[in-house]
């Protein structure tokens, strides 16, 4: 097996041939759709070459490992008995091409919560069966902030293999994980090993300037639960689920039953969002997060305090999807900047 770290040179056109061969072998090959709006399963490999100069898709690729809706079981009911039927097994051999670092990082982050003491076999199986081919990101806009949350356009976190696009239309393929190495072993004979590191390429795409230091707000949040800053942040938030659903690492879900008839139905795991007023509402009518201010505080807290506290990672990859798609223009990086500014000003005032 080729150890992680080795690099190969892929010539122009070879990537499409590689993808086509995978499709012919029965792999599900997923890439950004030609219009750049979402991810799609390709019918042939020609459209596989990732165009990371485009803005990221509106929705992240978490749908592949954490689908928007999946049955956790099916049931068959008679008058005096119920049979619980296991859901179909997730597809084997999924390969995702052209995944930007802010998307690729999500699987590792998500696995922390989906494997927290209890293992979510549905997530685990999908993650295990998915090969992530990350790609250097050549896009930056004013909503991007990967560099503020510990990532960069060339981060290989979460990728099994990583591609650097060369100016001649070819690629440098870097083997990142053992899983990636095992997967790619079969086709390495077509590619030549290289010493090129692509360092100059990486330097050309430094990503957005750093906007904030998440460590500064991490301790501020729990110490300032009732701070007057909270109601002034995101006060125009309308409480839809766009930000959570577009986010690569938001993982809240609901379990709901859907019956086709008395006899047949299924329990579904579906995406849910902490900004929905019903999310935490008790059957009795009591709601611990009964205002949008509390719900937005939860969103920011979960990402920058709770998840880091429990899992040692920020629950944000800086992709900016939530901000790009927000109907009222709320920019989470700007919100964090405001909190950081307040936190710094208060600590300066204390030291005086």
């Amino acid at each position: 097996m080729t150890p992680p770290g080795k690099r190969y040179r892929i010539g122009p056109g070879q990537l499409a041939a590689f993808a086509s061969a995978l499709i012919a072998d029965g792999y599900v090959v997923i890439a950004e759709s030609p219009d750049g709006k979402g991810f799609t399963a390709l019918k042939d490999g020609s459209a596989v070459a990732p165009d990371t100069e485009r803005p990221p898709t509106a929705l992240s690729m978490k749908d592949i490992v954490f689908p928007r809706a999946e049955p956790v079981f099916l049931y068959r009911k008679t008058l005096d008995d119920v049979q619980v039927i296991d859901p179909p097994s997730p597809p084997r051999g999924v390969v995702t091409f052209g995944v930007r670092p802010c998307d690729a990082a999500s699987i590792q982050t998500l696995s922390k919560v989906f494997d927290w003491d209890y293992h979510d076999e549905l997530f685990d199986t999908r993650a295990e069966r998915t090969i992530v081919i990350g790609t250097l990101c050549r896009f930056t806009d004013d909503r991007c902030f990967c560099t503020s949350v510990g990532l960069s356009p060339s981060s290989t976190k979460g990728s099994d293999l990583f591609l650097l696009p060369l100016d001649d239309g070819g690629w440098i393929l870097q083997i990142v994980t053992d899983k990636g190495s095992r997967f790619v072993a079969r086709c390495l004979s077509a590619f030549s090993e290289t010493d090129e590191t692509g360092e100059d390429l990486v330097k050309r795409y430094p990503g957005p300037a750093v906007r904030f230091d998440p460590d500064r707000i991490r301790s501020w949040i729990p110490a300032n639960f009732d701070h007057p800053l909270w109601p002034s942040l995101a006060e125009t938030c309308l409480g839809c689920g766009q930000c959570a659903f577009a986010c690569p690492v938001c993982h809240c879900f609901d379990l709901i039953d859907e019956a086709d008839s008395f006899q047949h139905g299924r329990r579904m795991k579906i995406w849910d969002a902490c900004q929905f007023p019903l999310f935490t509402k008790h059957a009795s009518g009591h709601n611990p997060r009964d205002t949008q201010v509390k719900r937005y505080r939860q969103r920011v807290s979960h990402k920058f305090f709770i998840y880091p506290e429990r899992f040692g990672e920020i629950l944000c990859t800086g992709c900016g999807r939530c901000s790009r798609g927000c109907g009222v223009g709320i920019d989470i990086a700007e919100i964090v900047e405001q909190i950081e500014k307040t936190a710094v000003a208060e600590s300066v005032a204390r030291e005086r």
Partner: protein, 277 residues
């Protein structure tokens, strides 16, 4: 693909109407092997489900010392509890669990125990009461103070009588003023008032308090005044849950997940939590 959201099939063996809106189910595992492998501790909860309607979170109301049945008590509020109430003996429901932490029974051994419950809050307390009574010689004095809005709203009525009849338990049952009937022989008054009157002593004693938030809010200062340390007052929280295993993201209070770190908390722990429950 079997997974952690797959429930066990449970057969409803008995349906006990407790109050006009509260019911107790006595359940048995359909699969004897699952039944043998199933263990839990007092205070843990489970996800109960009606197929086609959904899941609902309740504590396990029976004692782990009595494993022939699993019991749960629920008040009719939403879609699932309404569907549960329509079921009959012999019907099948789903159960996932047990989940969450539990009451520190070992640490409570050798001490006096005071149980204080209001309304359906007696369900989680009843689990511990039977657990403690089945191991009676390990504990010192046992006091049960239970209140409901009215005589009609008292749950586990036959057991209240059984406890009252036992010489080794002091049982005080109360109803809110106006909730008494002509032949009511118990106390009349809100739980915090009755707790105050009971003249408890916080030394060497653990208090287990469950009930509506308003009852908990006014009972805590009374216990503190009677000398209970915050760490010796234990309660349970009931945030909305779906997965029960720390993933679905709705039961947290700050960085504390009620489903994983709770549902059992000491008053000392509650004081550390942000005010969002």
């Amino acid at each position: 693909m079997p997974n952690l959201y797959t429930p066990h099939a449970m057969v409803i063996r008995e349906i006990i109407p407790e109050t006009p809106d509260t019911t107790t189910f006595r359940l048995q595992f359909k699969d004897a092997e699952v039944a043998r492998a199933f263990t839990f501790r007092a205070g843990q909860f489970a996800e109960y489900s009606v197929f086609g309607e959904g899941e609902c979170t309740f504590c396990i109301a029976s004692s782990p010392t009595r494993m022939e049945y699993i019991e749960c008590s629920f008040k009719q509020y939403g879609r699932v509890t309404t569907a549960l109430r329509r079921l009959n003996v012999g019907d099948i429901i789903g159960l996932r669990g047990p989940y969450g932490n539990f009451f520190p029974l070992e640490e409570m051994e050798g001490k006096n125990i005071v149980f204080i419950a209001g309304g359906i809050g007696l369900a989680p307390v009843r689990c511990v009461i039977w657990n403690v009574l089945d191991l009676r010689d390990r504990f010192k004095e046992i006091t049960i103070i239970y209140g409901a809005r009215s005589v009609d709203d008292l749950v586990y009525k036959r057991e209240l009588k059984e406890w009252a009849d036992r010489p080794d338990v002091k049982t005080i049952v109360t109803v809110d003023p106006g909730g008494e009937t002509a032949d009511w022989k118990g106390e009349i008054g809100f739980v915090p008032t009755i707790v105050e009157k009971a003249g408890l002593r916080g030394t060497d004693t653990v208090a287990i308090v469950c009930g509506p938030p308003i009852m908990i809010k006014y009972t805590m200062p009374v216990l503190t005044a009677q000398g209970f340390a915050d760490k010796d007052i234990i309660t349970t929280l009931e945030n909305r849950m779906k997965c029960g295993v720390g993933k679905c993201g709705r039961c947290n209070i700050g960085s504390v997940y009620v489903c994983k770190d709770g549902p059992v908390f000491t008053y000392a722990q509650l004081k550390e939590l942000p005010d969002e429950f």
